[in-house]
Symmetry: C2
Subunit: 638 residues, 2 copies
């Protein structure tokens, strides 16, 4: 049996232990000024001299002694005996204490006349105006920014003392292969310590990544003992197997003390903290998203407690576009897509699979759900931390409706143009409703034969359908997939696999049964529902069922035979008001591009003759070709 | 005469010229994955293989063929012939298509019994769950983040192709000395190109900083010609003298084309753009804050138009704590301090001197005032871009009242503890009003002899004085400063220099004249006002006046003689409700520290016997020693 955690620490408790058990290592190093950006000053820095070091002129004009100017006026112009022509930046000789702007000076022969008294120090940049000798420039603990470097250079510094820390990073796991090696079946690239090094180096940490240690307690012990000697912090990355974690725990116990193993945080539950020779040993879980969470929520706060400046957190407040559920008792961290629909910032949670690194690659933020919370309803205002610049918000599109591989290919093309599409798959009805509530940019829909029937009329009545525009993506053939070429007549005796209500394939099936007069209760497997055409194809391929409704593309990709029964339209429905959005124009361009047609053709199962056509729903619920007149100006604009 | 700009471009117009005149250089380079963070992908990156490459188990349990499990139930347990024990992460052999969790399995001898059918693919992480072979990982143009590096490592990449750009940076100006050389009088360290290199390198630009070129058109021409040949962008940093800029302009014209010289932006007006051999040459002004503005508002947008990811902008909305004025017609960029008072985010503008680099070192943000705007009233909600992490907001304190060098020393000590004090000097009355409106954290006040008189009673009536707590900073001697030891009797005949109304020194003077029965109109110079004691001392030292009121410390620092006439209390007044704030406790600790007393003693002119004493104002307007009972719990907490 796999070892279970007897007791999970709360995140708050674990963080307190982490940030109070280890005094700062107080390591510093001197770096050239040019390399100091992003580092933290180890000591306060005082100016070596005043800047400017002498009085200089702030204007083009004449330097004067203010006492000589007393009494000058329009009625009593004064010709000065002692003065000096100066330009901006010129030194003011010590006998002068003011500058009269050249515009206020009348030249009289080789002398200057003035008509107003000069107040002492007018238009003079006094010595020390920027900074005075020995004054504090930056305090200890200051994170040095690029423009601070300019000031430090001006004030006489060419190198500075900054905080330093040595971090040893140990990858463990017999299933690991090093970076650059193609993993065999069951192997994975040792990427968590690569990520750890890049992440921790941002703070200026000097990271040493050690060779991969196989799942052998003696080898792990030796690597750990050595890493602790040479570093201020050791990060030990566990393989994903249960055994590895147990080795790490027992090795930490044999060399020092285990502070905790297991924290109520998701992902990242198997995180481990030990103390060996007074130094922290942080055990990183094997799943990549769990490792990320531990780096960000454990390693960064530890370094922060030591005075380092880890990656800053930039919060924005976003409305949840769909409900967000969470295990109560667990602090959860969930990748999020933040985008703007109209004036509202929406956050769209992504799946939580700890092994799916693409979730954070695609996301532009993440959110924290505190342990007591079971989840949030859609529409809740929620704090999201951005992982990329706020500009990415304006490049993120939300699609809600019915997904098909054709859309994924489109999203890839769009992504490559800097437009991020986040699509969810709750079905056609939810897509229409999201358009109605303005909580998506567009709804991908698989629409049946026209005029739209099967509940659409009542649904569409609640929408102002004249405000919807449909961009045709492709025609999709739906039909019966099977290993043996089964047809309609076989439905009453074959083992059938169904899809859930409101999916296009279910609608096709139900229409077909009605047309053919087959009682659904007579279909063996009618109640056995899987998630969609790919799952249908997999179930048939694996012998779980004999037949099901699926698209021709998916059937052929799965090596199944296919009997077509309906052709449906895959449409992207959008509100007319955002049709002139240049991002929509870009999408339309992509849909119409030869590259996309080529991809659809290669995928198989799509009819592309009308791809890119723009249509409207007429009052009889048919899609009418050609844009309605009101849309034309936008189209011309595109 | 200095050359004036005949025509200033608007910022918008200049940016359009900048970002449309130069196609991207399309330079790329391959970097090791570990060095790719912060770089921009030059080409889309597709996965080399699927991850996972084979089906693996998502649970500890048994791998089964789902078709074998059909029909299993509590009433019909099935003992499986074909199955395999698997742990999380183990490969699922191809003949199996589902995993039954170990908790749902009954061991029966050496075989396993199940009581529920397994849906195909349950608890299986299918091949390609994270990413499928040849699918897009990151698009071209994607800014690579540390956690992206982990994913790229997992997906088989050890190096990637990123955007690259060569930037040549030329410092010009005969007044410049290189980094690390102590500048003589009238010289400055060549720091703007240091700053330019650090700032531009953040985007991955390969910067070459050339040697300093003196103000000689032939030498500038030769340096520029060579730099254009070797780089995609040339930044030429002008000295602060007017002549240098003219040389740069004429050299650009002789080698190519001048696109603009002079933009209606402050600071940064002298910015220049040229085109030589089709490449951009950006002329950086000499004043450091002007150079910063041009790097951030011109160089960064140019690189952005080429696909680079310059420093992201993180906006926050803050209420202006004081009015912000601007020249209409100029786009202005002003350093700002952002801090929180209660729940409100306040922004406090800093002075706009283009030569004062400390303004941006101390600030945590900046704001943009568009050209048509003449300014904003205090209280306006305004967008501020942060230049450091949002955490700095909570470390920023606003002080409003009367400044004295004693406070500057305290701010330096606090700064070194990570607490940023931004203090403005509108006088005692404004300080009390700011406390009343809760728009400052504390008011530094120079309070006259007690009980408080001179308008304080009516002012204090509008405040709940029992809610104010006063921390004594120091006693300050005020008196008559002069070169010749003038005293009260000399005021009616000496040339006097006054300070403006509501400054403590003015109040001392007015009290003194009233006590002595001297008519202010008889005082020669009563209407000649300068800004405060330091300006008074300077005016006397320079012979502009004979006498004035100033503090003993400033008088002695200026080598002047001093006749004391009053002792005042320099107090930090705060609202009782924030007295328990740990930051106030830290300040109190600093005020009471031996280090601060030593500094005050060394400065001279301060009485420190009561430094750090906490007092309250009683109803008769005297400061009562010792904290009022209600404050004690807070003090004990400290």
């Amino acid at each position: 049996m796999v070892k279970r955690y007897l007791e999970l620490r709360s995140l708050a408790e674990a963080l307190t232990l982490l940030t109070t058990s280890f005094p700062p290592p107080r390591r510093t190093e001197r770096v050239p000024l040019m390399q100091a950006a992003g580092r933290v000053a180890a000591v306060p820095i005082f100016a070596k001299y005043s800047v400017p070091e002498v009085n200089i002129s702030a204007m083009d004009g004449i330097a004067v002694r203010s006492r000589d100017t007393v009494g000058a006026s329009d009625w009593n112009p004064l010709t000065l005996e002692h003065c000096r022509r100066v330009n901006t930046g010129n030194i003011i000789p010590p006998e002068f204490d003011a500058v009269v702007m050249i515009e206020d000076v009348w030249e009289s022969g080789d002398r200057y006349q003035i008509r107003r008294a000069a107040i002492p120090w007018q238009h003079v940049r006094p010595a020390g105006e920027d900074i005075k000798e020995n004054k504090l420039v930056i305090p200890r603990g200051h994170l040095i920014r690029p423009f601070d470097i300019g000031a430090l250079a001006t004030y006489g510094f060419s190198s500075i003392e900054v905080l330093a820390v040595n971090v040893g990073i140990i990858p463990t796991g017999s299933e690991l292969v090093p970076l650059g090696v193609h993993p065999g079946p069951g192997q994975v690239v040792e990427s968590n310590t690569v990520m750890a090094q890049v992440f921790l180096s941002q703070t200026g940490a000097r990271c040493t990544r050690l060779p991969i240690v196989p799942d052998d307690p003696d080898l792990i012990r030796e690597a750990l003992r050595k890493a602790v000697q040479e570093n201020d912090l050791v990060v030990i990355s566990a393989g994903s197997s249960a055994g590895t974690r147990d080795f790490t725990e027992s090795v930490i116990c044999s060399l020092g003390e285990l502070i905790f193993h297991g924290v109520a945080v998701k992902p990242g539950k198997p995180v481990m903290l030990g103390k060996i020779e007074g130094k922290p040993v942080l055990g990183l879980p094997g799943y990549p998203l769990a490792a990320q969470t531990v780096l960000r929520e454990f390693a960064a706060p530890l370094l922060k407690s030591w005075g380092f400046a880890p990656a800053p957190k930039y919060p924005v407040t976003a409305k949840l576009a769909q409900p967000l559920t969470s295990d109560p008792g667990f602090d959860e961290f969930v990748p999020l897509f933040v985008g703007r629909i109209g004036k509202t910032l929406y956050g769209m949670p992504h799946g939580k699979g700890a092994g799916v690194q693409m979730a954070t690659v695609k996301a532009n933020g993440y959110t924290h759900i505190p342990a007591p919370v079971e989840g949030y309803e859609a529409g809740t205002e929620h704090e999201v931390f951005l992982t990329t610049d706020p500009g990415s918000i304006e490049r993120t599109f939300f699609f809600t409706g019915t997904l098909d591989p054709a859309l994924e290919e489109l999203a890839n093309l769009a992504h490559d143009k800097g437009l991020f599409i986040h699509a969810t798959n709750p079905g056609n009805t939810a897509g229409f409703l999201a358009l109605g509530s303005n909580t998506c940019h567009a709804a991908p829909l698989v629409l049946p034969a026209q005029p739209l029937s099967n509940g659409y009329p009542s649904l569409l009545k609640s929408l102002a359908i004249e405000d919807l525009i449909f961009i045709h993506i492709a025609g999709i053939d739906m039909g019966i997939a099977s290993r043996d070429g089964l047809g309609i007549a076989d439905l009453s005796h074959a083992r059938f696999i169904n899809t859930r209500r409101d999916t296009p394939s279910r609608t096709v099936l139900d229409n077909l049964l009605a047309t053919e007069g087959i009682d659904p209760s007579k279909v063996n497997g009618y109640r056995q529902e899987v998630h969609g055409p790919p799952a249908v194809a997999a179930a048939i391929r694996n012998g779980f069922a004999d037949a099901g409704i699926c698209t021709s593309g998916i059937a052929s990709a799965s090596g199944l035979r296919f009997v077509p029964v309906a052709r449906e339209d895959y449409e992207l429905a959008i509100r007319r008001e955002i049709f002139s959005d240049p991002r929509i124009a870009l999408l339309l361009d992509l849909i119409r591009s030869p590259a996309y047609r080529t991809i659809l053709k290669k995928s198989g199962g799509y009819t592309i003759s009308r791809t890119g056509m723009v249509r409207c729903l007429s009052s009889d619920l048919t899609l009418t070709e050609g844009p309605a007149p009101a849309v034309l100006p936008h189209l011309q604009q595109i």
